[in-house]
């Protein structure tokens, strides 16, 4: 798949030698990687099916070095690809052939933690979990908790607007960030948001969230910290039919309950997970739900009773409530380890990320089961059911000729069905390079054109993470021809 014709991908190739010479003047020797064996670890992110060696890798140790490096790249017209921990699942941090990967891995200091104001100022390379660990002594934590939280960075979280299993109640990254400091493509320092709850002018802070490293290089983030609830308990419910589990999800919300987490796994997922983490899941169930309540002990008792009533009414075949914190964490451990667990039972897998209205969960599951037969590939389903965000894990073997293409087509069909069911191709993993084709299905040519204009407002030369997220007009024309269909956009949304 060629990315050369995407928006703003520079046409003239930069003199690599000149780039190296200039970057050496602003970066210490150990912060500039040049040799192929040093570059190799940077050739992909979590979407390992797509690989590309970068021209160079820069690892600035502070904002000033990052700024100087950006200025040089801008002057020499070299593409810049920001990179955090590279756990991204859509190829957002995949390098550009002629570009410099700017890794923020060395910017990993928690600059300030203010327990009274409940905020933390952190560098972009700080790991998500490290923020909560630093806040824990004050009874606080950073609420968004992607399953990759041990590894992924705050910079990456902002760039993807990442979610977690608790974002139904506590919000996504965009809801938990007060300020983003960054560098424009030509190295100018900008601040989006501030230490208060809002900022004057356009909400550029919101715009930075989910911008996939295409609008600015993030160098510092102020996050909101949340008081730890006194108590959390999770209900583990089993169902003998996936459709019943899907209906139970709608039932919980209909009862006016906003659970702290509401997750679903199908049998293929639980069977991958159980031998790996011994979470105690019901192996006979076609689907399980994890439904969490948190708050004061009184509140939790009241809410758990209401949750149990709805789950029973929806035909749950078994219900267990975590009796202590260890058991609660054990129930969650299975869910949080779902991706690596599936990774153990298949050579390769593709993780989809469509989001649909909750009422269509059961319909989607039935459709995926039919696709498994048609494509001859297995698919385990792990859902952030509470917000309708699906993670079908399509299993394949890259060494079997044709299987990657089959898996890709399988995934594309799920995404297109997501759009058709009133949803979106990506809830939290981003478009990156993986879903760039499906952007043509979700958006009309005029809408995509506005995205391109917006991008140019920040980055007229198209040097920041070129080839990602926003497809070129030519790609969409081709997409529509090969799909033989009019764009879905407008008619279904």
């Amino acid at each position: 798949m060629s990315i050369d014709n995407e928006i703003g991908a520079p046409r003239c190739v930069v003199g690599r030698r000149q780039l190296i010479a200039q970057l050496r003047t602003v970066l210490p020797p150990h912060c500039l990687l040049i040799e192929e064996e040093e570059l190799r670890p940077y050739e992909c992110d979590g979407l390992t099916a797509y690989r590309q060696l970068p021209s160079l890798v820069a690892l600035p140790e502070n904002e000033a070095q990052a700024q100087a490096a950006l200025e040089i790249c801008a002057a020499l017209n070299a593409p810049v690809v920001p990179r955090g921990a590279a756990t991204g699942l859509s190829g957002g941090a995949m390098p550009h052939r002629d570009g410099v990967v700017v890794s923020l891995a060395k910017l990993k200091r928690i600059v300030k933690l203010d327990p009274l104001a409940r905020t933390a100022v952190v560098q972009p390379g700080v790991r998500n979990l490290a923020v909560s660990e630093a806040a824990a002594p004050y009874g606080l934590y950073y609420a968004p908790d992607p399953s990759s939280q041990i590894a992924c960075t705050i910079g990456g979280n902002v760039a993807e607007n990442s979610g977690g299993v608790h974002c139904l109640k506590y919000g996504l990254t965009v809801h938990n960030v007060l300020r983003v400091r960054g560098l424009t493509v030509d190295g100018e320092i900008v601040e989006f948001g501030n230490a208060a709850l809002d900022a004057p002018g356009y909400d550029l802070l919101a715009l930075m969230n989910g911008s996939e490293g295409m609008l600015a290089l993030i160098t510092e983030v102020t996050v909101k910290l949340t008081p730890k609830p006194e108590l959390a308990q999770v209900v583990l419910a089993s169902f003998d039919e996936v459709t019943k589990a899907g209906d139970a999800v709608a039932g919980i919300i209909a009862a006016g309950i906003i659970p702290a987490g509401l997750e679903m796994m199908d049998k293929k997922a639980t069977h991958a997970v159980e031998p790996y983490v011994n979470a105690g899941y019901d192996m006979d169930a076609e689907a399980i739900l994890l439904c969490e309540s948190d708050g004061t002990p009184e509140e939790v008792a009241e809410e758990i009773a209401r949750m149990k009533a709805v789950l029973e009414h929806s035909g749950a075949s078994g219900i267990r409530v975590s009796q202590n914190e260890a058991e609660r964490l054990k129930f969650w451990a299975g869910r949080k380890a779902a991706f690596p667990a599936v990774g153990r039972i298949t050579p390769d897998y593709l993780c989809m990320d469509g989001t649909i209205p909750r009422k269509n969960l059961a319909r989607m599951l039935v459709a995926i089961a039919e696709m498994e037969v048609r494509y001859g590939l297995r698919c385990a389903n792990v859902f952030h059911a509470g917000d309708g965000n699906l993670h079908p894990l399509i299993m394949y073997d890259a060494n079997v000729p044709g299987q990657l293409d089959l898996a890709t087509a399988f995934g594309a069909e799920i995404l297109e069905l997501s759009v058709e069911l009133g949803g979106t191709i990506t809830g939290e993993h981003g478009v990156g390079i993986e879903k760039i084709g499906q952007m043509c299905a979700q958006f009309s040519p005029d809408e995509l054109d506005l995205f391109r204009r917006l991008k140019r407002a920040f980055d007229p030369g198209g040097l920041l993470n070129p080839g990602k997220a926003i497809p070129a007009a030519a790609r969409c024309r081709e997409y529509r021809l090969t799909r033989g269909a009019a764009p879905l956009a407008g008619s279904v949304r």
Partner: protein
């Protein structure tokens, strides 16, 4: 309704194209309840494009926690429909008059007493259908809770005061109404109130609103009956007096709609957004008691005659926030600007964005900043 709707969108698109071609301007206006907000809405001598006729709730499914409404829908009507299903707009947007429309509410981007707990208006915007400055009808976001396909245009439009495009339709996340509410009143000086609010903020208490004014702090708890009761009980020991439900509800409503006595009169009204821990603010030449504190200390209202713009803005900046001349006569708004001036790089980005959405500068010139 839909036939009529489609024709008004087509008609608006034509007007926008004509204005763009003729280099003239359009002033977008819903019910006019927020005419006072922002700077000179009349800059550039615009024609008014009223949105009230394009009204109605397009889709509402309580179990999806989403409502989609056309821009001209009265905000009061929308909230009444939600209330029938036991749901609400959790950010408690101010109406500032019965004419307030949904489109104007989103374009103004204002949030009410519950903001510190529930989030701001922009946090609830899931999708928009809009007309840009070329008259193209565009859809961004959608009806689902999580959506990162493309840039977050819906949230960018929240609070853009109609300068980027005409919001034709919007999808908002809704939440169940709290089962129980309880308000306590404490006699405290402002600094004591700020200290307490910040300490309480670090505890998992269901505080859904707070307001300090004239030596009294009101704190509202919302949520499950058990939680509200337990939280209120735990604070009664500090001298909190329960406020009767009707009185409490009227009090919070008077803050949300600025009908409280504090907001009466013509003296300029300043809104400062600052970190909640910012100590009591003092402006030379302004009465120190002419203040009202909300959002756990993060929103401070200041009143006073005279030109204090420079001092107030400097104070807000120093604290890490910003100041808005929320209400003031046209002359003061013209001389001081309604909103805190932007840094040079931010102003450049604002201008570029304005040009990306509205290349001919058709919409609401000068409403946000005099520069565009």
């Amino acid at each position: 309704m839909s036939g009529h709707g489609a024709s008004s969108l087509a008609h608006w698109a034509e007007r926008i194209r004509a204005a763009a071609a003729g280099r003239s301007h359009l002033r977008l206006r819903g019910g006019g309840s927020k005419d006072f907000y922002g700077c000179g809405p009349d800059a550039g001598n615009p024609d008014t494009l009223g949105t009230r006729d394009y009204a109605g709730i397009v889709a509402y499914e309580p179990t999806e926690l989403v409502v989609t409404a056309r821009c001209g829908t009265p905000l009061a009507e929308l909230e009444a429909v939600l209330a029938e299903q036991g749901q609400s707009l959790a950010f408690e947007p101010p109406h500032f008059g019965s004419e307030a429309t949904v489109g104007g509410c989103v374009a103004a981007g204002l949030s009410g007493p519950r903001r510190a707990q529930a989030g701001a208006l922009r946090d609830f915007v899931l999708g928009v259908k809009m007309l840009d400055g070329n008259g193209d009808l565009l859809t961004f976001g959608g009806q689902v809770m999580k959506n990162v396909a493309g840039y977050d245009v819906p949230r960018l439009l929240a609070g853009s005061l109609g300068t980027l495009g005409l919001i034709a339709e919007v999808s908002l996340k809704v939440l169940p109404l709290p089962v129980a509410e309880h308000t306590l009143r404490f006699e405290l000086a402002q600094q004591e109130a700020l200290d307490l609010l910040n300490r309480w903020g670090g505890r998992p208490l269901p505080i859904s609103a707070s307001a300090w004014r004239g030596d009294a702090l009101h704190v509202r708890f919302s949520g499950a009956a058990a939680a509200v009761g337990a939280a209120a009980n735990s604070l009664v020991g500090l001298g909190g007096q329960p406020v009767a439900a009707a009185e409490a509800s009227a009090f919070w409503h008077s803050l949300r709609e600025q009908t409280h006595a504090f907001f009466a009169g013509d003296a300029p009204l300043w809104r400062l957004a600052v970190p909640s821990t910012t100590p009591v603010l003092a402006v030379d030449g302004m009465r120190s008691d002419a203040q009202l504190v909300e959002w756990g200390g993060a929103q401070r209202w200041l009143r006073g005659e005279g030109d204090h713009a420079a001092a107030i803005r400097a104070l807000a900046t120093e604290a890490g926030g910003h100041a808005t001349l929320f209400r003031g006569d046209a002359a003061t708004r013209a001389s001081s600007g309604a909103f805190q001036p932007l840094s040079a790089p931010l102003l450049r980005l604002h201008r570029n964005l304005k040009a990306a959405f509205d290349p001919r500068g058709v919409f609401n010139p000068g409403r946000l900043y005099p520069e565009f």
